[in-house]
């Protein structure tokens, strides 16, 4: 099994891997921007055996006792510390109870010694980025309900923020305790769709190093009038400390039968900065260790949202101080785990993004 097959590149699995091919090349991963939140275990029996053999061959670097936890000072990259959220699944099942010794982490191909942070001690900041463009006009009540439900699965010390976007991006409410009443009634739907702008704004707004940061985007994926483009989205995602998940709802209102006057009564945006790249969201999510999930029908969205948050909540947080690598440029991160489970983690980091302030 290749190194790439051990890690799904932050939520991206190719068809070959899903169908049991078990081998995924780096190029494949970059071409395919989609993630599959409930992936089948890669490979059949042969691949499974191969995975076990490969895992057995992994020489785990010296284990290191986890130092005392001080989230205020140690969570995100401090000096040259790299922190990685890692989701481990066995099919649909989240794999729990792993220790640092179960992980093998390489930084630009060089094995690193990792420690594991206690995720239970780290509160979560959830940023919901919700598409309220005109194409979702029939879903407003459902969207309000989803936002409230998302907040309800958070803990008392977690916080939630809501950003909505149509043609304009709106910071509906800033971070507030998840238990506070959320003014979801202010959510309305109309206008164009500036997804790139909204997601980049959300990524730039998640800055607290002492809390785990996750962004969940809910959209139909129809980009129309962002000032930013796919390259900017990926550039920021690669430098972000947050994990980005994108839930792409497919059966939104685009039917003339459902809204017969919609097309004649609504403004159209016709001039974009660049031709949209629908796969960019998957690539950006993958870069952060998140996924892009296509939700086939609207009723499946609450479940997808719950699974996304559960996945993030139970992810492992690994940390290491890079050794044996150049102190510059892009660093590819590869993560594998004992047992051949499916691993999802950010694809890498820029050395310069390891801000000593954080």
């Amino acid at each position: 099994m290749t190194r790439a097959a051990r890690q799904d590149g932050g939520g991206v699995m190719t068809r070959a891997a899903r169908q049991g091919g078990g081998v995924m090349t780096r190029d494949d991963r970059h071409r395919d921007g989609r993630a599959f939140p409930q992936p089948r275990r890669p490979g059949g029996r042969l691949a499974g055996v191969a995975a076990l053999v490969a895992t057995a061959c992994i020489v785990v670097a010296a284990r290191q006792a986890t130092p005392p936890q001080d989230p205020q000072r140690t969570f995100r990259a401090v000096g040259a510390l790299v922190t990685v959220d890692v989701s481990v699944r066995d099919g649909n099942r989240l794999v729990r109870g792993l220790t640092p010794g179960d992980f093998h982490v390489e930084d630009n191909g060089v094995a690193q010694t990792v420690e594991m942070l206690d995720v239970e001690s780290l509160p979560i900041d959830l940023t919901l980025i919700v598409d309220t463009s005109g194409s979702l006009i029939t879903m407003v009540d459902e969207v309000r309900q989803y936002v409230a439900e998302a907040a309800s699965v958070l803990r008392a010390d977690d916080r939630v923020r809501l950003i909505t976007f149509s043609g304009e991006v709106r910071d509906v409410f800033g971070l507030q305790p998840a238990t506070a009443p959320l003014p979801v009634e202010v959510i309305v739907a109309d206008g164009a769709t500036a997804i790139y702008d909204a997601v980049i704004a959300g990524l730039m707004r998640t800055r607290r190093a002492d809390r785990r940061q996750v962004l969940v985007v809910f959209t139909d994926g129809i980009e129309t009038n962002s000032a930013m483009d796919a390259d900017a989205l990926e550039a920021v995602a690669k430098r972000s400390d947050s994990v980005l998940h994108v839930l792409l709802v497919k059966d939104v209102m685009t039917s003339r039968l459902e809204m017969p006057n919609y097309y004649q009564d609504t403004r159209r945006y016709w001039l974009s900065r660049a031709v949209p790249d629908p796969l960019a969201f998957g690539r950006a999510a993958a870069a952060t260790g998140g996924w892009m999930q296509e939700v086939a029908v609207r009723p499946d969205l609450p479940k997808a949202l719950r699974l996304t948050l559960e996945d993030f909540r139970t992810s492992y947080v690994l940390r290491y101080r890079p050794v044996g690598v150049a102190q510059e440029g892009w660093h590819r991160i590869d993560v594998a785990v004992t047992g051949g489970h499916t691993v999802r983690a950010r694809s890498g980091y820029f050395w310069g993004a390891l801000n000593p302030k954080r």
């Binding site: 991006v169 109309d190 707004r205 609504t266 000593p356």
Partner: protein, 374 residues
């Protein structure tokens, strides 16, 4: 004082949210005639009336047309000939505000209201300066909703074309007509060919660069008139940018960025110049121009463009041992400020595709003042 007239039979019931804040006023529902609505409007309760008309959506909104047809002329003449001109302008301005309020939800009604008011002007006698300003505001509003060619006629934007014909008939020397004609060409350029593509099978326009050959001459024609020149240069510069001709784009955009007569144009020109430099790999120049745009107007497009540059700059700076480490903090601050300031202000980039709609705030403010409805 205008005499109150009975509610016209069949006229719509409007829910007027009086001058109180919207949330508190929801329970204060009144039934109102056009005369009452115009009186509120004249008294400065403009937003309340417009909100009321917006709230009419979902009912038989086409009742707005007889609402104007049946009551307006009596209201215009009610205070005698000396006031009739001002009152006609006030009715026409009120109609425009109503149409604007329905821009995103009931465009067909909005369009019909504009057309009704335009016809009222044409029947009212010789053109006046007030009508001139009004007709440019109406053009700005109509340009907010370009429409693709109809299957029946094959013609795109028939309403804008019809309005341009009316402007030409009433105001033959109006320079904005040539700019609007260029904009129609531009629309054809961007939307000339498209195919279904992308997620959910949604239509995503694939632009037809070949049509540019027809747009640039139209913009050049518009630029012959001094009043149009900066805007024509802006649009030409963006077109050149999209076509990959960076140096030509920079020449036009630099010219468009000059002057302080229209901050939205200056902002857009500076933003576009930054995009050109960014594409050419001139990162420092891009950062500087994005910062200039943000300083011109602290809107989100410039904040994000500058923020992306700061994200990349921080990585470079830290990697070089120049540890300031606060570029990303600055990006966060810029974006936060832009989002907080977004209420009540439109990012000019979001209106760029809508032609003269960027001029709407200035034009409608001028009309309000002329009509005594400020």
């Amino acid at each position: 004082m205008t005499p109150r007239r009975p509610v016209v039979a069949g006229a719509m019931v409007l829910c007027v949210l009086a001058a109180a804040p919207p949330r508190a006023a929801r329970s204060q529902q009144l039934t109102i005639s056009l005369s009452d609505a115009l009186t509120y409007y004249e008294a400065g309760e403009r937003d309340a009336v417009v909100r009321a008309l917006t709230a009419a959506k979902g009912s038989d909104t086409f009742a707005l047309i007889p609402f104007f047809e049946h009551d307006s002329e009596a209201w215009i003449q009610a205070d005698g000939p000396a006031e009739a001109g001002r009152r006609r302008l006030l009715v026409a301005t009120f109609a425009l505000e109503t149409a604007y309020a329905g821009l995103d939800h009931q465009w067909e009604v909005s369009k019909a209201v504009v057309q009704w008011a335009c016809e009222m002007w044409r029947k009212s006698g010789p053109p006046t300066p007030a009508e001139h300003t009004w007709t440019l505001a109406a053009l700005a509003l109509l340009e907010a909703n370009f429409v693709p060619p109809s299957r029946a006629t094959g013609l795109a934007n028939p309403d804008v074309r019809a309005h341009l014909k009316h402007i030409t008939e009433r105001f033959p020397d109006e320079p904005r007509v040539s700019l609007a004609l260029a904009l129609l060409k531009e629309y054809e350029f961007w939307t000339g060919h498209y195919r279904l593509r992308g997620v959910s099978g949604a239509p995503i326009f694939i632009h037809n660069d070949d049509v540019a050959a027809t747009v640039l001459p139209a913009l050049d024609e518009a630029a012959r008139q001094a009043a149009n020149r900066p805007e024509a240069q802006l649009r030409r510069g963006f077109l050149e940018y999209r076509l990959g001709r960076s140096e030509a784009a920079l020449a036009d955009l630099t010219a468009a960025a000059a002057g302080d007569d229209d901050l939205t144009r200056t902002y857009l020109a500076q933003l576009f110049i930054g995009w050109v430099h960014e594409r050419e790999g001139r990162k420092a120049e891009a950062t500087a121009w994005f910062r200039r745009a943000y300083e011109t107007l602290p809107a989100l497009s410039a904040a994000l463009a500058l923020g992306v540059r700061l994200y990349e700059d921080e990585a470079v700076a830290v990697a070089n041992g120049d540890v300031h480490g606060d570029e990303r903090d600055e990006a966060d601050t810029l974006v936060e400020a832009a989002l907080l300031g977004a209420a009540g202000r439109t990012d000019p980039w979001k209106d760029y595709g809508y032609g003269d709609l960027r001029r709407w705030p200035a034009l409608i403010a001028e009309l309000r003042a002329m009509a005594g409805a400020s």
